[in-house]
Symmetry: C2
Subunit: 488 residues, 2 copies
């Protein structure tokens, strides 16, 4: 089903954490819903037009000075995006100057700027040193009335004039409609085929208001693919949560270029985010994406931009959000520790990041505790570990346990195992009298759960079977250790 | 194209801010890519299974005590979700108790819990008072090996036993595969048709690792739709940014129930978020969604859960994030002020929220400044406003302007217009000598931009045409006024 998921079970002797060490070609088995490699699909053949310095400038809290724009441009170039798009030099003198400065940085990426479909804008832009111009005009009834008030005839005539001018300067030229998904289809295809015939390098569609859905996008791009021979660029807003999905479906349908911005910043809640888009395409074709972009630079770029616009990276941000790779529930922890690909489709190491298993919870299984015990270097049998786990669960039901509390409990439990003293050391030093009573009650309750114990025994047998084949429960996985994760 | 976008231009005499006062049936015109109302589509006929208290408990930082679970359950019930799913009562004694407590709250929503496919879990769960059980087991090769180690025969036999038991208790019963998109298709359809024949109410598919893409989801659900007669529930993780899109496509293909959690919290970066999902479905059928859910409660629920798990609502969160309705660029501001539907597909008032136009930027058009001038109650001509805008842009190029700075500039400018004194009041009191020099330079540069002025004149004429028809640039739109937005 998922093309890059290894259809086969990884060999039991593979001790690597990152079970992606080998890339087995997809074995269809009986999974007809895997993408069947439509000949039009560009899922493994696309370019990114990075628009943090154009769409991103329209973000509510973005005020990039020249230095910051240069920093961001260089960072994006280091990541490997093929194009960097800048605010129109016609919008202000500062924008024009910044455009010139960035064009003179000698970056690998091509520099584009984004202008209204008007000769005045174009004249300013072509002098800045950009590699290409993106020309845009609204083609929906709403935009034609309320934004610029022009007719389609006027649009066509102006477009041809501007395109001709831009091409005469030897620059790359794209023509885009704004609000494409509310535009009259025939008008749209008409203008696109006209501009394609006069030799634009690329046409663009934009879901300016964020209303398009994925299959609709696929259909429109597919249709457009049959009308023009040139490249197709897509720009998707995220108001209804489909910007990444729409980009993916557009590529499936034959689009060639996708607009992104770092953290998706832009008008309203933004556009296709660079990190999320890369996550999506990585899962589709890991080798291809890794060959094009330096993924280890993603976090730094996001941190740079987030600081510049004074936002926090969302807790659930793709790849780099704090919880992107956290696993908590008992069933999941067991499987993750046994084989990371069980519950992960993205390898955090590809991005220079580590995973961690969150084990302080009443949902914790003993497997995660065992992992921690081993990491602490304590010698305990499985049966002792399970007993300790019961106590941890009981404690977690009474109070919120931080990571260090769990360690304290494990250490105290261990000491009590081998202590020759009569009094047991309390599992946590600062328990109140009431907490001690409640703890004793819970411990008794949990110890009397025969069903859970039976399940655990069954699960044990299976784990032992795996262990005998060399797949150890804690092998190589990083478990959270306070602030840092360390390799075992 | 977009079904709920009004294909026709709203009447010019509609002075309402929220141009959605009337709901004109979709006029296809020549927009064949609008959804054509596939008879299988459940885009206007679905139920939400809210899983904050099950999937959400697996979020890295979720530690809900009983009181919080009750608060969340009540809040979700007030919003109107049809089902609330709870953590398995078999996972700990506390979970079992909390399940009973919530079942006894007398909520409108049905209460479900989520158990492993095992009689021990089922026996505990049925006694808690839940309305139904969701039974889940991993069916992918990876999960069969590393999570539970069972064969498909075992799965089938156990499933039938558990289902029979649950139904004998008169409860609703769902059977789900975990990691459906990496499961063997025929095995999957086989087990589903078997359980459907013995009368489960619902089967479920889950993209447990977040790898599925939208058209793949559509195909699988469509296929499943032809195999079973019962309801189909879907659970989508968001690792590759497709959880909302996948939910949408699943409904298009005939699914009936979608799992959500507030802010999408759950394992790793979570699942389909309640707010984002509602935004997506609202755009597809506004009347339907508004009739089912109390949208004005969304923000409060998100704030409640965010506080409980100690996260910030992401800056770009659907609907409720700070920038969800902000508009900045000149072109957009003009269109938005003239007609909000130009650049918005969601009406913030539906959620009890207001929009605001961000106008402190070098990208600002004079239209947004005019709006602020009117709000401040100052009497200025368009030509004076444009002159003031030039100064604001010049100032914005030198330093970051907060909202109050812009007001100060406008007020100072206005005073200088009517002042009988010889010295002009400085536009900002705290300018350094260097800033004053740079400001004078920029002001001169911007004033000498004839092309921009020409463009503005063209745009003016159009705006005047609109104004003569009763569509005023600032009519009824809330413009940011420091911390609060006020109606004009």
């Amino acid at each position: 089903m998922c093309p890059s998921c290894n259809g086969e079970v990884p060999p039991a002797t593979d001790g690597k954490v990152n079970g992606h060490g080998h890339h087995t070609p997809h074995n269809p088995r009986r999974q007809p819903f895997a993408s069947v490699g439509d000949y039009l699909s560009n899922v493994s053949n696309f370019k990114i037009i990075e628009s943090t310095l154009r769409e991103g400038e329209q973000f509510a809290n973005a005020f990039f000075d020249t230095d910051m724009k240069v920093k961001i441009a260089k960072a994006l170039d280091g990541f490997g995006v093929e194009y960097i798009e800048l605010t129109s030099p016609a919008s202000s003198e500062q924008s024009r100057k910044d455009c010139e400065i960035i064009c003179n940085l000698g970056l690998k990426a091509k520099i584009l700027t984004h202008v209204r479909c008007h000769m005045d804008d174009a004249r300013i832009a072509v002098e800045t040193g950009v590699d290409g111009l993106d020309i845009v005009i609204g083609t929906s009834p709403q935009l034609m009335q309320h934004s610029h008030g022009k007719s389609m005839d006027y649009i066509r005539d102006t477009a041809l004039e501007v395109i001709d001018f831009v091409k005469s300067k030897g620059l790359e030229c794209r023509f885009s409609s704004e609000d494409s998904f509310r535009s009259d289809l025939v008008d749209l295809l008409n203008i696109y085929s006209i501009v394609a015939k006069v030799g634009v390098n690329r046409v663009g569609i934009a879901d300016t208001i964020g209303c398009a859905n994925p299959r609709q996008v696929y259909d429109l791009v597919r249709t457009l693919r049959g009308v023009v021979q040139c490249d197709i660029e897509c720009h998707f807003h995220n108001d209804t949560g489909c910007s990444i999905a729409n980009a993916y479906c557009a590529l499936e349908a034959g689009a060639t270029h996708i607009d992104t911005s770092v953290l998706g910043i832009g008008e309203r809640n933004g556009i296709t985010p660079l990190g999320g888009f890369v996550a999506r395409m990585l899962v589709a074709d890991r080798d291809y994406v890794r060959s094009k972009y330096d993924l280890t630079k993603l976090k730094a770029i996001e941190d740079l931009v987030a600081a510049a616009v004074e936002i926090n990276v969302p807790f659930n941000n793709y790849i780099t959000g704090f919880c992107a790779f956290t696993h908590k529930a008992g069933i999941h922890a067991k499987a993750i520790l046994a084989n990371p690909t069980t519950y992960e489709i993205i390898n955090p190491a590809d991005f220079g990041m580590t995973r961690y298993v969150h084990f302080t919870s009443r949902l914790t299984g003993w497997n995660a505790i065992k992992s921690r015990v081993n990491q602490l270097g304590l010698d305990m049998t499985d049966s002792q570990i399970k007993s300790c786990t019961v106590r941890i669960k009981a404690m977690a039901d009474i109070r919120h346990l931080a990571i260090e509390d769990t360690d304290a409990i494990i250490n105290a439990f261990y000491e009590n195992l081998y202590s020759e003293q009569n009094d047991e050391k309390p599992l946590l030093e600062d328990m109140t009298a009431d907490e001690k009573i409640r703890f004793a009650q819970k411990e008794a309750e949990l110890s009397q759960e025969p069903e859970s114990q039976h399940l655990d025994q069954i699960v044990d047998q299976q784990t032992n079977v795996l262990a005998n084949h060399g797949v150890n429960g804690h092998e190589g996985v990083n478990v959270l250790n306070g602030e840092t994760a360390t390799e075992t």
